[in-house]
C-alpha cells in the first residue's frame, strides 16, 4: 500500500468534507449576521433565551445535537416530514444533512465573532452617515458591514474549521455512509477501526492538517487586508 497516494474512497471523503464545510459556512452566514445583529443591537423580550439557544451546540454533547436533529429533521420528524412532503428536501442520511449538522455546530462560534465585531462599531459613525442622507439600510451596507467585515471573516473561518472537524453530531444524524456522508473525520475513524487501516488514517490526517493550516492562513491574510484598510496607516 502506497503511503502517499490516496485511494478513490479517500479522495471522496476529502471532497465531501470540503463541500460540506463550505456549504455549511455559506448557508449559515446570512443567519449568523442576522442573529449577531439581533443580539448586538436588539432590545426585545426573550433575547437571553435566543442567546442561550444559539450557544446550545457549544454546551451540549455533539451526539445530543445529532440526536435532536434526527428527531426534528428525520423523515418522520416534524420539520423533516414537512420539508420532504412540500419541498422534496430530504436531509437524513444525505450529505446536505451533514452540512446542516456542521452548520448548527459552528453557528455559536460564527454568531459570537460577528456579534462582538458589531458591538465594537462606533455608533457615532452610523449617526454621521445618516445625517449625510443615508437611510438605515444604506448605513448598514456602506458603514456597518465594511467595519464588521473582519469579524465576519473570522466567524466564517471558525465555522468552516468547526465543520471540518465535526464528528459526533454528523455521525449521529446522517451516519457514516461512504460517498454520501462519510467526512474526513468519519473516514479516519473508520480506518482506525479496521486492521491495517493506519496508513489511510495517516494520509487523511496529513490532508486534514494541510486544509486546516491553509484555512487559518487564508483567514489571517484576509484579516490583514481588511485590517489594513480599516485602520489605514
Amino acid at each position: 500500500m502506497d503511503w502517499f497516494s490516496l485511494s478513490n474512497e479517500e479522495w471522496t471523503a476529502v471532497h465531501l468534507s470540503l463541500r460540506i464545510a463550505t456549504v455549511a459556512m455559506i448557508a449559515s452566514l446570512p443567519f449568523g449576521i442576522a442573529v449577531g445583529l439581533l443580539l448586538a443591537r436588539g432590545h426585545f423580550w426573550g433575547k437571553s433565551l435566543l442567546n442561550g439557544l444559539v450557544h446550545l451546540p457549544l454546551i451540549l454533547p455533539p451526539v445530543v445535537i445529532g440526536f435532536i436533529l434526527l428527531i426534528l429533521f428525520g423523515r418522520r420528524g416534524p420539520v423533516g416530514a414537512f420539508l420532504a412532503e412540500n419541498l422534496g428536501i430530504v436531509l437524513s442520511f444525505k450529505w446536505t444533512g451533514a452540512a446542516l449538522a456542521c452548520a448548527v455546530m459552528g453557528f455559536p462560534l460564527m454568531v459570537r465573532s460577528i456579534r462582538l465585531s458589531i458591538e465594537a462599531v462606533d455608533r457615532g459613525l452610523e449617526d454621521a452617515a445618516s445625517t449625510l442622507g443615508a437611510s438605515p439600510v444604506w448605513v448598514f451596507i456602506t458603514v456597518t458591514l465594511p467595519l464588521v467585515l473582519p469579524g465576519i471573516i473570522a466567524g466564517m473561518i471558525l465555522s468552516f474549521a468547526k465543520a471540518m472537524g465535526e464528528f459526533g453530531a454528523t455521525i449521529t444524524f446522517v451516519s457514516n455512509i461512504p460517498g454520501e456522508t462519510q467526512t474526513l473525520s468519519a473516514a479516519i475513524y473508520t480506518f482506525t477501526q479496521v486492521p491495517g487501516g493506519d496508513a489511510g488514517a495517516f494520509r487523511l490526517t496529513i490532508i486534514s492538517i494541510i486544509i486546516s493550516m491553509a484555512a487559518l492562513m487564508a483567514s489571517e491574510f484576509m484579516a490583514y487586508l481588511v485590517g489594513r484598510k480599516v485602520t489605514a496607516s
Binding site: 457615532g124 445618516s130 449625510l132
Partner: protein
C-alpha cells in the same frame, strides 16, 4: 431662511425648555457644558426627540409633537459637523467627501472642486482618515457635510477637541466658509473667542433654558454674560471699520466710535467691518498718560464701574468716549492706584492682543 425651535424634554433631573429663532447667518449656541446646547443640537439633527415641541425650517415642518410629525435624520438635509470628526475609517478622504453626494440628486449636487479648494483639501484627497491630523480631520468632516448639499449646517463644538494651534489653523477656514458659502449655520460653542469671531447672533443657554439672545456685540458685552463663560475669557467685543493698512509695519488701523485701534497682521481690505475681542486680562491701566511704552493702543476713558471678583481681582469697566472696555487687575493694583468710579484713566492694549474678525 427661518428656523423655529421650541422644545421641552426631561432627561432625569435635567429639564430642557428652550425656544429660539434663527434667520440665517451664523447663530451661535453658547453656554457652559451641561447647559443644554448638545441636547438642542441632537434634536435639530434628529438623534433625539423632544417630549413636546416643534422644529420648523422655512415652511417645512421637521418636528411637531402635537401633529405627530417627526422627519427622520436622513431626510432632514441638515449637515452636521460633530466634535469628533467621525470620518469613515474604511474610506479614503475623497470617498468620505463624496459619501453624502450619493444621496443627492445629480442636478442638486454642489460641485466638488470649490468646496475642496475652500477648505484646502486638495492634497489630502487620496489619504486615509487614520493618518490625518486632528485639524485636517475636522476640515474633511466640514467638507463632507457641505458636499451633502445641506439646507442648514449644524456644528457641534467643532474645535473643542483641538489644541490652540489647530484651532488657529482651522478658524480661517470657518471664516471663509461663513463669508463665501451661502448657508445658514448653527454653531455650538463654549468659547467666547470663537463666538466673537464667527457668529452674527448669539443664543446663550443656561441650565436648559435660553438666558439671552441677540446680536453678538450686544450679548457678549452684557456684564451678566460672564456668568456663562469661563471667567478667564471675560472681555469686550469691539466692532469697527478698517481705515488704513500700513504694509511696511503690517499694521491695520481700525476705527470704532471716536477711537482708533492698531492691529498687527495680514492686510485687511479698507472699509471692511471687523470685530475684535479684547480680553480683560490683556488690558493694562495707567492713571497718567504713558509716555514711552511699546503698546500702540492707548485709550483715554473714565471708570464707569468697578466689579469685584471672587479671586482677588477686580473688573474695571471703562467708558472710552462711548465705547466700553473691560480691564482685569488685582485688588492690590486697585488699592495702590486708588481707583474709583468717575476717575480718568488710560487703558493700554498691546496690539498683538487683538485679532480682527
Amino acid at each position: 431662511m427661518k428656523l423655529i425651535f421650541e422644545a421641552r424634554r426631561k432627561l432625569g433631573a435635567f429639564q430642557l425648555d428652550a425656544a429660539f429663532n434663527s434667520d440665517g447667518g451664523v447663530t451661535a449656541l453658547f453656554g457652559a457644558s451641561g447647559s443644554g446646547k448638545t441636547s438642542v443640537i441632537r434634536m435639530l439633527t434628529g438623534l433625539s426627540r423632544p417630549d413636546e415641541g416643534r422644529i420648523i425650517f422655512d415652511d417645512d415642518v421637521i418636528v411637531d409633537t402635537v401633529r405627530g410629525i417627526f422627519v427622520p435624520k436622513h431626510k432632514r438635509r441638515f449637515g452636521v459637523v460633530f466634535q469628533d470628526a467621525r470620518l469613515f475609517p474604511h474610506l479614503s478622504v475623497r470617498q468620505n467627501l463624496n459619501y453624502g453626494r450619493w444621496f443627492v440628486p445629480k442636478s442638486k449636487r454642489d460641485s466638488f472642486a470649490p468646496i475642496v479648494d475652500l477648505l484646502g483639501l486638495n492634497f489630502l484627497l487620496d489619504r486615509r482618515p487614520g493618518n490625518l491630523s486632528g485639524g485636517e480631520k475636522q476640515r474633511v468632516a466640514i467638507g463632507r457635510a457641505l458636499l451633502s448639499s445641506p439646507r442648514l449646517l449644524l456644528m457641534d463644538e467643532p474645535l473643542a477637541a483641538l489644541d490652540e494651534t489647530r484651532k488657529a489653523e482651522i478658524l480661517p477656514y470657518l471664516e471663509a466658509l461663513r463669508d463665501k458659502m451661502n448657508i445658514p449655520i448653527i454653531y455650538v460653542s463654549h468659547s467666547v473667542t470663537e463666538v466673537a469671531r464667527l457668529a452674527d447672533k448669539v443664543i446663550v443657554m443656561d441650565n436648559g433654558a435660553v438666558a439671552m439672545a441677540g446680536a453678538v456685540t450686544d450679548v457678549l458685552n452684557q456684564p451678566s454674560i460672564s456668568m456663562v463663560h469661563s471667567r478667564r475669557e471675560a472681555g469686550t467685543l469691539i466692532e469697527g471699520k478698517v481705515i488704513h493698512h500700513d504694509a511696511k509695519h503690517r499694521l491695520t488701523t481700525i476705527g470704532f466710535e471716536s477711537s482708533q485701534f492698531f492691529v498687527h497682521g495680514p492686510e485687511v481690505a479698507e472699509g471692511k467691518t471687523v470685530r475684535m475681542y479684547v480680553l480683560a486680562k490683556d488690558v493694562m491701566l495707567s492713571t497718567v498718560y504713558p509716555q514711552s511704552v511699546s503698546a500702540l493702543n492707548i485709550l483715554e476713558g473714565k471708570i464707569a464701574a468697578i466689579l469685584t471678583n471672587a479671586e482677588g481681582t477686580v473688573d474695571i469697566q471703562i467708558d472710552c468716549q462711548g465705547a466700553a472696555l473691560l480691564s482685569r487687575i488685582t485688588t492690590l493694583s486697585r488699592d495702590r492706584m486708588m481707583l474709583r468710579e468717575g476717575m480718568t484713566i488710560y487703558a493700554i492694549i498691546k496690539t498683538v492682543a487683538l485679532e480682527p474678525r
